[in-house]
């Protein structure tokens, strides 16, 4: 068997057969202050719009069916979470005790828990690693533990952990991370005629490019702990949003 030759032939043939993603006719309008991906009709930044539209619609398609056309995917807005940073602040060990064999996750809300909707909240996430070993997280250079708000009607849809950047190691003991929690929806529809859902209202602003603030009410902080082995979230924190 001339393996090298057959593998090269297989690769070449596979690439020839591999179809590119459909190219929808959509536009992205990234925001400068708070980066967002906006997908509306008519222009050509294509593949990403398809991807964004698909994911957003899928997340809210309770029937489990994939959208039948790009038109159904278009007109959505996504807002990635801000870039968190590691804090230099430390806490007394007895304030956040270790949990045997787990990574205890504590959230410290630096300011008041009653916040005007639309205003971001800064929190500190304290990890107490008692696994007896360090563990690795992906995308640590630009944040990997997203924090958001959720309640019975608003679902937590964390921005995705970074990958392809670098990994980092969380050592045993206490690690403190600073995160910013947005108090707006995670996204909105730019199509004024679209049907708003609990998680995706119609965008506001004259250009329909503003993500509305979450409605006043009671929320809890939600964390994406998917990168943490054996996480143990120690406290449910309630945040009350009031009308700005």
């Amino acid at each position: 068997v001339n393996l090298e030759e057959r593998l090269r032939d297989w690769a070449q043939d596979s690439l020839t057969r591999s179809t590119s993603l459909d190219v929808p006719v959509e536009t992205f309008v990234p925001r400068s202050t708070r980066p967002r991906i906006l997908a509306t009709g008519f222009a050509a930044a294509a593949v990403l719009a398809l991807a964004v539209g698909l994911v957003v619609v899928r997340g809210h398609d309770h029937t489990g069916h994939r959208p039948a056309s790009l038109g159904q995917r278009a007109g959505r807005t996504l807002s990635p979470s801000p870039s968190p940073t590691v804090s230099s602040h430390t806490y007394p060990a007895n304030l956040y005790p270790a949990i045997a064999g787990k990574v205890a996750v504590y959230v410290h809300v630096a300011s008041t828990r009653v916040v005007a909707n639309g205003q971001p909240i800064t929190v500190e996430v304290v990890l107490v690693n008692d696994l007896g070993r360090s563990f690795e997280v992906t995308g640590a250079c630009d944040g990997w533990l997203d924090v958001g708000l959720a309640n019975r009607t608003i679902a937590f849809e964390p921005a995705y952990a970074d990958v392809g950047c670098s990994n980092d190691t969380i050592p045993t003991g206490v690690t403190t991370l600073t995160r910013t929690v947005e108090t707006t929806y995670y996204g909105c529809s730019q199509d004024p005629t679209a049907k708003a859902t609990a998680n995706f209202p119609i965008c506001t602003g004259s250009a329909h490019d503003q993500i509305p603030p979450l409605p006043p009410g009671t929320y809890h902080l939600a964390l994406d702990t998917s990168e943490i082995p054996h996480p143990d979230l120690r406290e449910a924190i309630t945040i009350t949003l009031v009308q700005n």
């Binding site: 068997v1 393996l3 057959r6 593998l7 090269r8 032939d9 297989w10 690769a11 043939d13 596979s14 690439l15 591999s18 179809t19 590119s20 993603l21 536009t27 992205f28 309008v29 990234p30 980066p35 991906i37 222009a43 050509a44 930044a45 294509a46 593949v47 990403l48 719009a49 398809l50 991807a51 964004v52 698909l54 994911v55 994939r66 996504l78 990635p80 992906t138 995308g139 250079c141 630009d142 921005a159 995705y160 970074d162 990958v163 392809g164 950047c165 990994n167 998917s226």
Partner: protein, 175 residues
């Protein structure tokens, strides 16, 4: 270009040349094909969102995008939404094998069978070997870039390549 374009159209153009490879690699790491499409799409979203983290000094755009893709494929498997392809011959059989083709009547179809034999052999490899073979041959990444994409050492890549080639050679000789 040391940074990924920050404008949407520029970014779409930037990733465009790599889409075929991303699709092809995803198709070998997850199944069914619809899930592979999802993995590519999710990878592109992440790439866009984290475009500011791309650093050409640390690797090529293709390697960066593939790293994201491989990560997404891994998460797909972890979530249990995708059947592992590496758990046995039965999985590889989900890829059609036209046993009934008459090789004597159409040389081109004989080549097709040979390609499918390679395909079957590749997708039946253990996950890491499959990743290494796919990235090295299909994505045409040098060993050093494969190591970066998978987050393992160059030595490990070479080891997996060696084992994968041995397994492929054995399976192809059997077929």
């Amino acid at each position: 270009v040391n940074a990924a374009p920050d404008d949407a159209q520029g970014f779409a153009s930037w990733v465009g040349p790599h889409l075929t490879v991303l699709n092809a690699v995803a198709g070998r790491l997850v199944s069914p094909a619809a899930d592979a499409d999802d993995v590519v799409q999710e990878a592109l979203i992440r790439a866009w969102r984290r475009r500011s983290t791309f650093d050409a000094d640390r690797g090529t755009a293709r390697a960066w995008l593939l790293a994201i893709l491989v990560d997404r494929a891994r998460r797909h498997r972890v979530r249990g939404r995708v059947v592992e392809l590496s758990c046995g011959v039965d999985d590889a059989d989900s890829f059609a094998r036209p046993d009934s083709i008459d090789l004597g009547t159409d040389p081109g179809r004989g080549i097709e069978v040979m390609r499918l034999d390679v395909e079957r052999a590749v997708v039946s490899l253990p996950r890491r070997q499959r990743e290494v073979i796919t990235l090295h041959y299909l994505a045409d990444l040098p060993v050093a870039d494969v190591a970066v994409v998978l987050g393992i050492s160059v030595g490990s890549v070479k080891s997996h390549l060696f084992d994968a080639r041995a397994a492929l050679r054995s399976r192809l000789e059997e077929s």
